[in-house]
């Protein structure tokens, strides 16, 4: 399986974009992502503002209001937390076309620890009006989504990683911004996932559950968290016994919440949310290990789904989701 770091794929795509779009601007905060990069004729449109994340967002807003299309560069923890108020007021409120390119998301910073992890960013960005929130799952989806992001008239948050992560299967078609991508058909149990390792874990878990448990398992790739594709979700989960979300984020406010909100409002379904536990991750390890330690692997997902499915099946094989059996017919 090939591998790529979504941030370097983005970097290379941006260099190209800067050449093609004379309104694109790259605003940097001493990240090092562009060290040694040659922007060619576009060099004047690369600006390193120093270690200054609030300023970054404010400058980007001023430039976007003047007709430029800034790509701002920082880590997810600094975009979503350190500079949040500038994102909220200067960028989101004004609906300005700033592209917030956030690297080191989730626990991809690995051993760098809690100050460099961002397990809150999706909750934070999703609550902001006017914001488009995108989570690519590998190099190919990063390229595909970036091309579409470039055309958006409003602000976008793009969640990127740090080190290479394995690619999705080669035959995966390019994702379409705003639309859930069906990676595997199946309606009995439906996995909804976002981000490199969660998507791979979900695909493999689906395979296992189909092969070993005879289940009909679907996998939905929800790369666009906002706006959320309600229609595809409700259609794909209409007959499901169980919906499962898998993500690299704390439990509140991320993909699991988005799906919970949609399902509860449009088509109540038993839901299992698999996310990073509600605590800071301060054990040493790389991204893959830290997620494995917390159950986000194919095996972990499989095991939790089996347990949940066993709980759903009552003594006489009837649904025992608390309360369902007592639902009064209206």
């Amino acid at each position: 399986m090939s591998a790529a770091a979504t941030r370097t794929v983005y970097r290379d795509a941006l260099v190209e974009r800067m050449g093609a779009d004379s309104t694109a601007v790259c605003l940097d905060t001493d990240t090092g992502l562009f060290s040694g990069v040659d922007f060619g004729d576009a060099a004047a449109r690369y600006i390193n503002l120093g270690i200054a994340e609030h300023t970054l967002m404010g400058v980007a807003a001023g430039m976007a209001a003047s007709g430029w299309r800034p790509y701002v560069n920082t880590m997810a923890a600094f975009a979503g937390a350190r500079a949040l108020e500038a994102v909220k007021i200067d960028i989101a409120y004004n609906g300005l076309p700033v592209r917030i390119m956030a690297t080191h998301s989730g626990v991809s910073a690995g051993h760098l620890g809690p100050t460099h992890h961002a397990l809150e960013d999706l909750a934070v960005m999703r609550v902001l009006p006017n914001m488009t929130v995108v989570v690519p799952a590998d190099g190919a989806s990063t390229s595909a989504l970036l091309g579409q992001v470039a055309e958006l008239p409003g602000p976008v948050y793009v969640r990127l990683g740090r080190k290479p992560t394995p690619s999705l299967p080669e035959d995966t078609p390019p994702p379409v911004l705003g639309l859930i991508q069906r990676l595997r058909d199946g309606g009995e149990v439906v996995l909804v996932c976002a981000g490199p390792l969660p998507v791979l874990a979900a695909l493999e878990a689906a395979e296992t559950l189909a092969a070993e448990d005879g289940l009909d398992v679907g996998v939905l790739h929800a790369h666009t968290l906002k706006p959320f594709d309600t229609a595809t979700l409700t259609a794909a989960t209409a007959g499901a016994r169980l919906v499962v979300t898998v993500e690299e984020h704390w439990p509140a406010g991320g993909l699991g919440s988005a799906v919970a909100e949609e399902l509860a409002e449009h088509a109540p379904r038993p839901l299992l949310r698999i996310a990073m536990p509600d605590r800071f991750v301060d054990t040493v390890g790389g991204q893959e290990r830290l997620m494995a330690d917390n159950g986000i692997t194919a095996e972990g997902v499989t095991a939790r789904m089996r347990a949940k499915l066993a709980g759903l099946a009552g003594p006489a094989g009837t649904a025992t989701v608390p309360g369902t059996q007592t639902r009064p017919s209206p």
């Binding site: 300023t55 967002m57 001023g62 007021i89 409120y93 004004n94 076309p97």
Partner: protein
């Protein structure tokens, strides 16, 4: 909430010129005209503070002369073309001075003066802090410490487009306790953004007391100089001094400019001038009448 129409990235347009003429008479904006304009602006401020929600009286009055000079003899701007890419941009970083800005924009012709009566009234668009729905407002402000970075964004935009327009930012002195101001100050001088001009409304007071008692900002000029800005100090109620300083910026090539405008919070109203409680006021009918009389008397 929609983005500004039209890309500002190099299209050739003829730049609007600064008002070297008064909107009404066609004559040069003499000191009398500026004084009368500032008085009208103060009157509007006082009127709005007698509205349903009151208003940020003291800081709006301390900024009134700065805004008058900027909009009537410094800024290259045109109420008829508020999005002209070649305009000078103004940002009220001390967004709580909104009523002063609204009064100035109305006097300058961005919207009818009569609209000022709608301030803080449901159905209107004049909120307690400036929003972009109001013609002439470039960016929403009100959370302190945002304006300088925004201004730098406009300044860098102009430079990238090879334009000569400038960005002006008005900050409060208490506002300078926010680290984001200094962060942007570092970036601005680093970028050599000499088309960025900041003014500090140095009225010595913040919400709960004297700046020097709460978190001192002196030596103010030295601070900015050490951040590699060009600095001038002026009497913030002296139109000619303000105009000279603002119109002539940049004073040093490659450096952003900072005007320390020494002001009095509540200037023009002896009953509150220099007093911390001037910060926010809801004027009763009686107080309003007294304030109007005081303004008139002061001008004579």
């Amino acid at each position: 909430m929609t983005a500004v129409a039209g890309a500002d990235t190099g299209a050739e347009t003829s730049p609007p010129v600064a008002v070297e003429t008064t909107p009404e008479t066609g004559a040069a904006p003499d000191s009398e005209f500026l004084r009368e304009t500032a008085l009208r602006i103060r009157r509007h401020i006082v009127d709005m503070c007698a509205g349903p929600e009151g208003g940020h009286l003291g800081g709006s009055l301390s900024s009134a002369d700065i805004l008058t000079v900027l909009y009537f003899s410094v800024l290259r701007c045109d109420p008829a073309a508020p999005h002209d890419p070649a305009r000078d941009v103004f940002l009220l970083s001390k967004g709580h001075g909104a009523i002063g800005l609204y009064a100035t924009l109305a006097e300058r012709g961005y919207f009818p003066v009569s609209e000022l009566e709608t301030y803080a009234r449901p159905g209107g668009r004049l909120m307690g802090h400036p929003v972009r729905a109001v013609p002439g407002v470039e960016m929403p402000t009100g959370s302190l410490g945002h304006g300088l970075a925004l201004g730098l964004g406009f300044a860098l935009s102009a430079r990238l487009a090879s334009r000569t327009n400038r960005a002006f930012v008005l900050m409060g002195d208490g506002e300078l306790q926010e680290g984001s101001c200094w962060e942007a100050a570092i970036a601005a001088s680093a970028q050599g953004a000499d088309n960025l001009v900041a003014v500090v409304d140095r009225n010595g007071l913040q919400l709960t007391g004297e700046t020097e008692g709460i978190a001192p900002l002196e030596p103010m000029a030295e601070r900015w100089r050490s951040f590699n800005w060009a600095v001038r100090e002026v009497d913030g109620h002296d139109h000619e001094a303000l105009r000279e300083a603002l119109a002539s910026a940049p004073w040093e090539p490659g450096r952003p400019s900072l005007v320390v405008a020494r002001t009095v919070k509540g200037q023009g109203l002896p009953m509150v001038a220099g007093k911390v409680h001037s910060h926010y006021a809801t004027l009763s009918e009686r107080m309003h009448a007294r304030a109007v009389r005081a303004l008139r008397a002061g001008e004579r």
